[in-house]
């Protein structure tokens, strides 16, 4: 039997070993009391039982604001993100699935160079979780969208390498791993993502549409905190000396400016914008039509100041994905 179990007592050694593969980041509790992914100064900062971070790991691939292009003396220069190897430890399955979704968007034909550089520098170590009241999934699950996955058990973790990087880590950690007679059971539940919805549903006569449109304050929290929301705004700023920079910044489809073009707005009312959000999150659009981009992390529900949960507009709320573990 293969040695794949990491006992709890060896976790801090294992974390030290991970530092050999890059700067170690993981879930911590900030001074203000907010869960966030941040550099792990010491293993004791690690919040193994965190529910969800306010800002998802997408910030490692697509920062809130970044310069993507620089213009000087008649020539453009693409920004090259400062790249150092980073190991992100303790990412829950939904967030891993979310990054796999972002990969499909940004690494498809004509890959986004800033994203691609950051992605290549990121090693993902997944960690099993326990859903809470905000999660949209019905039970714990695993995700293969990582380099290494840790399934938590009673007194340790069962490791599964999912990539060559993951195998390199398990090989380097061989001395810390032991065989166990009874392997920690991976959960039977494969995926409990929110299932894709019928695009026509966004035009339903459900009274909640109007109610939500009146309540939404367009604060932006739902998309800022969503691990798969990637819409961005591009703005150009000249400098005093003649050059200019092009900046990319997160955007939200519920902002009035999101669909605004010269002479008009594609989605002038908040109601139209909510319908659009529904379409993108739960139905997907070209070329990802039919693929829901909601991974069920529950952030939008937890962080919306007015408690909007667009799933209430589904015909049948898939509280149970039908694949109960």
């Amino acid at each position: 039997m293969a040695k794949t179990t990491l006992k709890n007592i060896h976790l801090s050694h294992f974390l030290e070993l991970l530092r050999l593969f890059g700067e170690l980041h993981g879930p911590v509790l900030s001074d203000q009391g907010v869960f966030s992914f941040a550099p792990l100064a010491s293993a004791s900062d690690l919040q193994l039982n965190y529910s969800r971070t306010q800002i998802p790991p997408k910030k490692y691939l697509l920062p809130f604001r970044e310069e993507i292009l620089h213009y000087q003396k008649g020539a453009y220069r693409q920004a090259v993100p400062y790249g150092s190897e980073t190991v992100l430890f303790g990412v829950h399955p939904c967030d891993l699935d979310a990054m796999a979704y972002l990969d499909r968007v940004f690494l498809a034909e004509a890959a986004d160079s800033c994203y691609a550089t950051r992605r290549a520098n990121l090693t993902l170590v997944g960690l099993s979780c326990r859903p809470d009241d905000f999660c949209f999934c019905s039970g714990p699950r695993e995700s293969a969208a990582c380099d290494l996955f840790l399934q938590a058990g009673e007194d340790g973790f069962s490791l599964t390498a999912r990539s060559a990087k993951g195998e390199a880590i398990t090989a380097a950690a061989a001395d810390l791993l032991v065989e166990t007679e009874k392997e920690i059971e991976p959960p039977a539940c494969g995926s409990c993502n929110v299932l894709p919805q019928d695009p026509q549903l966004r035009f339903s006569a459900h009274p909640l549409w109007v109610k939500f449109a009146e309540a939404c304050v367009s604060c932006g929290a739902c998309s800022v905190c969503c691990p798969t929301c990637y819409c961005f705004d591009l703005r150009e700023y000249p400098s005093l000396s003649g050059g200019a920079e092009r900046v990319r910044e997160w955007d939200n489809c519920l902002f009035v400016t999101h669909g605004e073009v010269a002479g008009g707005n594609f989605r002038a009312t908040r109601l139209e914008r909510l319908r659009y959000r529904f379409l993108h999150k739960y139905c997907g659009f070209t070329p990802l039509t039919g693929i829901t981009s909601c991974v069920g992390c529950g952030r939008c529900k937890e962080f919306c100041p007015v408690g909007i949960d667009l799933r209430e507009l589904f015909q049948d709320l898939p509280l149970d994905c039908g694949r109960t573990p």
Binding site: Q32, E214, V224, Y237
Partner: protein, 251 residues
């Protein structure tokens, strides 16, 4: 390259907005080289020099002198830019507009001795003239002022952020004071761009940058009432930087 002719002027205000410009120490020499600073009464006492490519005006309109200055600037400048919350909304000077009469306020400040300067309720520039661009903030952010100057130099106006304070606040991974601490935070309806200065240090947003576009004022009011604040207290806080709100507005 043509050096754009600039006028920078202050009406009734604290001069903090003009100071923001003087505080851009690193860029100041370059600004002076690239622009023809025709009129900047705060930095030197030269007046006149019209016409201007742009007049950047701080402060609310509160005296006949303010009004005359404003008309003079509007008439002699291609672009008129309102700089700061007072110029755009009336600002702190206007906070008691709807609460006390002018006579009461003047008496409270100057007593009933000497004859005082003639004044009226502080009002935003747009009450009297057309304004081509605004930079909000009490005081405005340095980088937005610099973005304006750089854009002017290139014959355009800058694309400034249009989202509310909450967007930057959440992106900075702050604790939400409205949701988690039930405090009177105005972030959802206030124009962002300050990088959520106040919530980042644990203090609620007081709304110094004025309303964001399509501010859902009615919902914010509901949120605050639900958290146990009185209508009077809420209105008092909201009018600190902008005297008049439409409390029924949802978009």
């Amino acid at each position: 390259m043509n050096r754009p002719r600039l006028a920078i002027a202050g009406l009734t205000a604290c001069s903090g907005c003009q100071l923001t410009l003087l505080n851009c120490e690193e860029e100041l020499a370059e600004v002076a080289a690239r622009f023809d600073l025709v009129s900047f009464p705060m930095a030197e006492s030269v007046e006149g020099g019209a016409p201007f490519d742009a007049a950047i005006v701080e402060g609310a309109v509160s005296t006949p002198g303010d009004l005359a200055n404003l008309f003079r600037l509007r008439n002699s400048s291609r672009l008129l830019v309102a700089l700061g919350t007072c110029a755009i909304f009336g600002g702190v000077a206007a906070m008691n507009n709807g609460v006390s009469t002018r006579e009461e306020l003047v008496a409270a400040v100057y007593g009933d001795g000497e004859k005082t300067v003639e004044s009226f309720a502080p009002a935003p520039l747009t009450n009297f003239v057309s304004v081509d661009f605004s930079i909000t903030g009490c005081p405005p952010e340095k980088q937005e002022v610099m973005a304006l100057l750089c854009a002017l130099l290139n014959g355009t106006l800058p694309p400034l952020a249009t989202y509310p304070v909450c967007t930057e606040c959440r992106s900075r991974e702050n604790l939400c004071l409205l949701l988690e601490r039930k405090e009177l935070c105005l972030g959802p309806i206030i124009q962002g761009g300050c990088n959520a200065r106040c919530p980042a240090t644990g203090i609620v947003c007081e709304g110094c940058r004025g309303p964001v576009r399509e501010a859902n004022v009615a919902q914010e009011l509901e949120l605050l009432l639900e958290r146990g604040f009185g209508r009077k207290e809420i209105e008092r806080r909201m009018s600190r930087f902008k005297p008049e709100w439409d409390y029924g507005q949802r978009r």
